[in-house]
C-alpha cells in the first residue's frame, strides 16, 4: 500500500517539475516518515527548499537540511551537501549531529581514514553510539576489508543482538566470502526472531541448496515447502522455482550413475515426495505464468525450462507413488 502511495506522490512531483513547493515538502516528509531511500529525488526536490525557500519552512528547515544533506551525499552532490552542513553548523555549533554529517561528508569524498578517526572518537565519548559503529562497518565493507567488517559487525551484534538488519548484513558478508555455514547461523537467528517472514525461509533454503549435499537439500526442500505454506497466494514463483531445482538436484544425487558417493545416493533416494513435489512445482509454475501477463516469449521458455528440471520418479526409489501430490 505504501508503495503505491509513494508512486502516486512521485508522479505528482514529476508532473509539477518541482515547482510546487508544498508538494516538495510533502514528498520529503513522506520519505522521512517511511524511511525510503530515494536520494536522487530528495536532492533534486529538496534543493530549492533549503535554498530559495528556506524561510518558508520554519522549524522544519533543520530536519529538512539534515535529510537533504544525507541524500546529497548519497547521490554525490557534494556542493549541495556542503551548503546544508554550513547552514546547520552556523545554527548549531559544536553539535554532535552536525559532526555526524561532516564525517559522512568525509566518507563521500573517499577520506575513509579521516572519517574512521572521527567515529572512533565518537565511540570513546559514547561506546554505545550505534551510528558510529555502523559507519565503521560500512567503511570496512567499502574498502573490501570484509574480514574487518565481519569482525566489527560481530562486535556490534554481541551488544545489539536483536538488530535484524544487522544479522541480514552479516549473512550477506559471509555469503560474499563463501562462508555459507556462518551465513546459515545468521539466518537461523533471523528466523527465530521473525518466524512468519516467508522471504527469510526462501533465502535460507537457497543458501542450504548452495551448500549442497543431501542433508542441505533436504532442509532446502522443507524450508521451501514451509515458505509456500506460509504464503500460498502471491509472488511465490521464487519458492516454486527453488523447490523445482531442489527436487531435481535430489533426483540427480539419487541416480547411481551421477557420480555421487553411494552413501549420498542412497540417502537422496530416501527423500520423500521428491517426484510429487517436482510435479506440483511444475504445475503451479505453469499456472502462475499462464494467469499472469508475462510476455509470450517467456511463457514459451517456461515449459522447456521446466522440462529441464523434471523428475518423473526417483531413481531406485522402488514403487512409484500413486498418491496425490502433497506438500508436507
Amino acid at each position: 500500500m505504501s508503495a503505491t502511495n509513494f508512486e502516486l506522490l512521485r508522479a505528482r512531483l514529476e508532473a509539477s517539475s518541482g515547482k510546487d513547493i508544498k508538494l516538495n515538502r510533502e514528498f520529503l516528509k513522506y520519505v522521512r516518515e517511511h524511511h525510503i531511500r530515494e536520494s536522487t529525488l530528495v536532492s533534486i526536490y529538496g534543493a530549492p527548499l533549503v535554498d530559495k525557500y528556506a524561510s518558508s519552512l520554519g522549524d522544519e528547515l533543520w530536519v529538512v537540511l539534515e535529510q537533504v544533506c544525507i541524500a546529497a551525499l548519497d547521490s554525490q552532490d557534494l556542493k549541495l551537501a556542503d551548503m546544508c552542513i554550513s547552514k546547520l553548523d552556523a545554527k548549531f555549533p559544536n553539535s554532535s549531529r552536525v559532526r555526524r554529517l561532516q564525517a559522512l561528508r568525509m566518507e563521500a569524498a573517499v577520506r575513509y581514514d579521516d572519517a574512521d578517526l572521527v567515529y572512533q572518537r565518537m565511540l570513546l565519548d559514547d561506546p554505545t553510539n550505534t551510528f558510529a559503529m555502523k559507519r565503521r562497518i560500512t567503511i570496512a565493507r567499502e574498502r573490501r576489508d570484509l574480514t574487518r567488517a565481519v569482525q566489527l559487525l560481530n562486535e556490534y551484534l554481541t551488544v545489539f543482538m536483536s538488530d535484524t538488519e544487522a544479522w541480514l548484513e552479516l549473512a550477506d558478508l559471509y555469503i560474499q566470502q563463501g562462508m555459507y555455514s556462518n551465513a546459515s547461523f545468521c539466518f537461523e537467528e533471523l528466523l527465530l526472531a521473525s518466524p512468519q517472514n516467508c522471504h527469510l525461509y526462501v533465502k535460507y533454503a537457497e543458501l542450504r541448496f548452495t551448500m549442497g549435499g543431501v542433508e542441505n537439500l533436504e532442509l532446502a526442500k522443507k524450508y521451501y515447502s514451509f515458505a509456500l505454506e506460509l504464503n500460498p497466494d502471491k509472488n511465490t514463483n521464487r519458492a516454486w522455482f527453488g523447490l523445482l531445482a531442489t527436487t531435481h538436484a535430489l533426483a540427480l544425487l539419487a541416480d547411481p550413475s551421477s557420480g555421487a558417493s553411494k552413501k549420498a545416493s542412497s540417502a537422496a533416494s530416501e527423500s520423500k515426495y521428491v517426484a510429487e513435489m517436482n510435479k506440483l512445482a511444475r504445475t503451479q509454475l505453469t499456472k502462475n505464468y499462464e494467469n499472469s501477463s508475462a510476455t509470450t516469449t517467456l511463457k514459451e521458455c517456461l515449459p522447456k525450462t521446466l522440462s529441464d528440471f523434471t523428475v518423473d520418479r526417483m531413481p531406485d526409489s522402488g514403487s512409484s507413488s500413486s498418491k496425490d501430490a502433497k506438500t508436507r
Binding site: V110, T210, F309
Partner: protein
C-alpha cells in the same frame, strides 16, 4: 581460446549500465547475448558482438535461482537465435573492479558448456567518468581468468554519449532483472 575483442551493441550496453544504476547499493549481474551464428574458434578479428543483455540479479546469486535462470536464459536466447556469450557483473563498491570470486566461479561453469565464454567486469570508476567503455573483459587462459588486452568497441562510436546524457537528465531506469521477475512474472 585466444583473447577476443568484444563489440557492444548500443542497446545492450545501455541496458547493462542502467541495470547497475538502478541498484547502486548492491552488486548486479547478468548475461551477455550474442547472435547464435557467430562461430567461436574460427572467428575473425571482430570477436564477439554483444547484441543484448539479460539482467539477472541484484543481490548475491545463490544456487537454485542461478541454475534456473541460466536454463531459462538459454531457451530465451535460442528462441531469438542468440546464445549466451558471457556474464557481466558489477561490484557494490566503487573501487573494486577486478574479477570477483563469484564471477570467476560462474564464468568457469559457463566455460564448461561454452568454451569461449567471457566475463565482463564493470568498472564503477569508469562508469562515473563515462568517457570510455566502463569495464574490462576477462577471458580464461589455462584455467585462470585474465584481463584481455584486446580492444573493446562500441558498435556505434557515438553511443558513449548516450549514458552521459541519461545521467545528466537523471533518467530513472526501470530495468527488470530475473530476480524481480520471480516476484512479478509480468515484468520482463
Amino acid at each position: 581460446m585466444s583473447s577476443a575483442a568484444i563489440t557492444f551493441g548500443t542497446e545492450a550496453y545501455l541496458k547493462m549500465l542502467l541495470h547497475c544504476c538502478q541498484h547502486p547499493a548492491t552488486s548486479v549481474c547478468g548475461l551477455l547475448l550474442a547472435p547464435a551464428s557467430s562461430t567461436d574458434s574460427t572467428s575473425n578479428e571482430s570477436g564477439v558482438t554483444c547484441v543484448d543483455v539479460l539482467p539477472l540479479f541484484h543481490s548475491s546469486p545463490l544456487g537454485p535461482l542461478l541454475n534456473i535462470s541460466f536454463q531459462m536464459a538459454e531457451h530465451f536466447a535460442s528462441q531469438r537465435s542468440q546464445k549466451i556469450a558471457g556474464l557481466y557483473m558489477a561490484s557494490e563498491t566503487l573501487e573494486d573492479n577486478e574479477i570477483s570470486t563469484v564471477a570467476a566461479r560462474i564464468g568457469s561453469q559457463m566455460i564448461a558448456t561454452q568454451a569461449d565464454s567471457v566475463v565482463f567486469m564493470i568498472d564503477n570508476m569508469k562508469l562515473r567518468r563515462g568517457d570510455e567503455i566502463a569495464g574490462s573483459l576477462y577471458v580464461q587462459k589455462a584455467g585462470k581468468w585474465q584481463r584481455s588486452s584486446a580492444p573493446l568497441m562500441m558498435e556505434d562510436g557515438h553511443a558513449l554519449e548516450i549514458p552521459k546524457q541519461l545521467f545528466n537528465q537523471r533518467v530513472r531506469p526501470h530495468i527488470v532483472d530475473f530476480e524481480e521477475h520471480t516476484e512479478r512474472p509480468e515484468a520482463d
